[in-house]
């Protein structure tokens, strides 16, 4: 294994254990070990196993899903700026959630479901617009349609937020900034199911992505039907992103940054890039969440803001090193 990949995996393990150990109440390594092996005080056990473990597990899955989704979209759209939220997923999901809030439905499960449906509806709309334009798998048209749907969604959100009570609007805004704060095992289970289906499917189609990254004619010459493969990949990547939005709100920057990190580490073969993107995404989200809840404990910073704060300098240094 590539030494840098081994280092990345080691970093993920360290960050995940640190996320279990640190918080408003911090445990030392010995106490954490006792909790994980069935010993320790009930309070420590409750903090780690009931509060932090689902949060860390959800962070691992959200990061893996966003990282893979971003790598797929950058490869298939042949665009280094593509990311899951650009195809309208975030806008659609936010409209779904804000709509639910404005209708007085504040139950987290309903909110998640509304976000998921909104995100998928936006993707279907984007693909429908591209189809109506007669270029249903043209990367440029899909990107433009995504931007247009995103802009429309933003307008809809502003209108909706202006009409709801201030307290509800605050809840909706917090959700739009991303958070793992309300993570429960049932959220982990739901996202795990989506990832268990979409993840292997994307790895299976990784070879198609390698070919698509050369352009559609070249992909066809390598045995890939470009339009069908692109649609399959867009939809599956968007499904993953919509599921993360439903679980943790909008966690920006991960889907954009992580694919660049993965390619810098292991080159361009997508089967490897996707796997490394999952690990790098998990590391970034769990690490950012740890920072979000420890920097100003007991207050929490919005996760999406922390991923951006961590991501921007990292992205700039990556750009500098890019040939």
């Amino acid at each position: 294994m590539n030494a840098r990949v081994a280092l990345l995996i080691a970093t993920l393990v360290v960050v995940a254990f640190a996320a279990l150990a640190f918080g408003p109440v911090s445990l030392d390594a010995r106490e954490l070990w006792r909790v994980l092996t069935g010993g320790a005080e009930p309070v420590s056990r409750a903090i780690v196993l009931d509060v932090r473990a689902p949060r860390v597990a959800l962070g691992l899955l959200v990061g893996a899903a966003l990282g893979m989704s971003g790598s797929v979209l950058q490869g298939a759209l042949r665009n280094a700026l593509a990311e899951p939220y650009l195809l309208g997923v975030s806008g659609g999901a936010a409209v779904g959630a804000v709509l639910a809030v404005s209708l007085g439905m504040n139950d987290p499960t309903v909110l998640s479901l509304a976000a998921f449906v909104g995100g998928l509806a936006a993707v279907v709309l984007v693909m429908g617009i591209a189809r109506a334009a007669g270029m249903r798998a043209d990367p440029r048209v899909l990107l433009m349609a995504g931007v247009v749907v995103g802009a429309f969604a933003n307008a809809a959100i502003m209108v909706l937020l202006a009409t709801v009570p201030a307290e509800a609007a605050k809840g909706a805004l917090w959700w739009m900034m991303g958070s793992l704060g309300s993570a429960q095992w049932k959220d982990v289970a739901r996202l795990a199911v989506v990832l268990a289906v979409a993840g292997p499917a994307l790895l299976h189609w990784a070879r198609d992505l390698d070919a698509l990254a050369l352009g559609h004619d070249a992909a066809a010459s390598l045995g890939v039907a470009p339009e069908a493969a692109s649609r399959r990949l867009f939809f599956t990547a968007s499904l993953l992103a919509a599921a993360t939005v439903a679980a943790a709100g909008l966690v920006g920057f991960v889907g954009l940054l992580v694919p660049h990190v993965a390619r810098a580490l292991v080159g361009t073969r997508h089967r490897v890039v996707l796997a490394v993107s999952a690990v790098a995404g998990s590391t970034l989200v769990v690490g950012a969440d740890l920072a979000a809840r420890t920097t100003r404990a007991p207050a929490e910073l919005p996760l999406g803001a922390v991923t951006a704060v961590v991501g921007v300098p990292f992205f700039l240094s990556l750009l500098r090193r890019m040939r």
Binding site: G75, A213, G215, L222, G223, V224
Partner: protein, 263 residues
């Protein structure tokens, strides 16, 4: 082995058809060249083979069977195509790029037992050993073309189709590319080269198909097609065709307008 049978294509919104009733076949063990001015429909022929354009009429056949009856993967196993335009979205190592030629042969999880031998043969045939560790964005235009040729050879298909294979190549690399195509033809492959290099084509091709405004205007041995009267009207430029004393092939020399030439 590959046959275009009465193929007509019109792109959406275009006022004139790109191809009209084009019929010709490419046989194994020979180089067939398609020549013609810019916009004459040469690349559309290649795209029709790859099923990248819809046909208004006619069929493209491989060993008598319609290409539409094949999966895209089966098509890629039968015919390796180097398309005219291609650029990796993200720079990749040259070795990784050549390995992409094995994509049509890989099993569900990327297993392809013949891959390393095929890739090694392709690298050796195309003479690109020195490029393997470089990235695609570090290569010159000529090196990139040779890499693309190697990728197509690694595909180990019975037929190889190249859309302008010698663009960006200097004389030595141009010659060695055509020598390589001749070698592949001698080994029994069907070779189709779309090219603007009429003089190279006349030396290497067994058969030349001349396209003009989407119609086949001449089809035969280089001697039959490379006639000044035909080429002048197609290219709309004055030229002479002589027989090169050194190599014996017809040689085309475009003339300057409004300048008297020694006869």
């Amino acid at each position: 082995m590959i046959a275009w049978s009465d193929v007509s294509v019109r792109y959406p919104g275009a006022s004139t058809p790109a191809l009209t009733g084009v019929s010709f076949a490419v046989g194994k063990g020979a180089i067939t060249a398609v020549v013609g001015p810019n916009g004459s429909g040469k690349s559309t022929l290649v795209r029709a083979l790859l099923r990248r354009v819809g046909l208004q009429s006619g069929r493209v056949l491989i060993d008598g069977g319609d290409v539409n009856a094949l999966s895209q993967r089966d098509l890629a196993r039968r015919v390796a195509v180097v398309v005219q335009r291609e650029e990796p979205a993200f720079p990749m190592r040259a070795g990784e790029y050549v390995a992409l030629g094995r994509a049509p042969h890989a099993g569900a999880w990327g297993v392809d037992e013949g891959a390393s031998d095929a890739i090694a043969r392709a690298i050796s045939l195309a003479g690109i050993e020195s490029l393997l560790d470089r990235h695609t964005d570090e290569l010159s235009g000529g090196e990139w073309q040779r890499l693309r040729l190697a990728r197509a050879i690694a595909q180990e298909a019975e037929a190889i189709v190249l859309d302008e294979p010698t663009t960006f190549l200097d004389i030595a690399h141009e010659m060695s590319a055509f020598e390589l195509l001749a070698d592949l033809a001698r080994r029994g492959r069907a070779v189709l080269a779309v090219s603007h290099q009429l003089n190279l084509v006349s030396r290497f091709a067994d058969r030349v198909v001349l396209l003009h405004r989407g119609v086949v205007v001449a089809d035969g041995a280089p001697d039959e097609v490379m006639r000044a009267s035909v080429l002048e009207s197609v290219y709309e430029w004055p030229l002479v065709v002589s027989r090169d004393p050194a190599v014996g092939a017809p040689t085309l020399v475009p003339l300057r307008r409004n300048v008297s030439h020694r006869s």
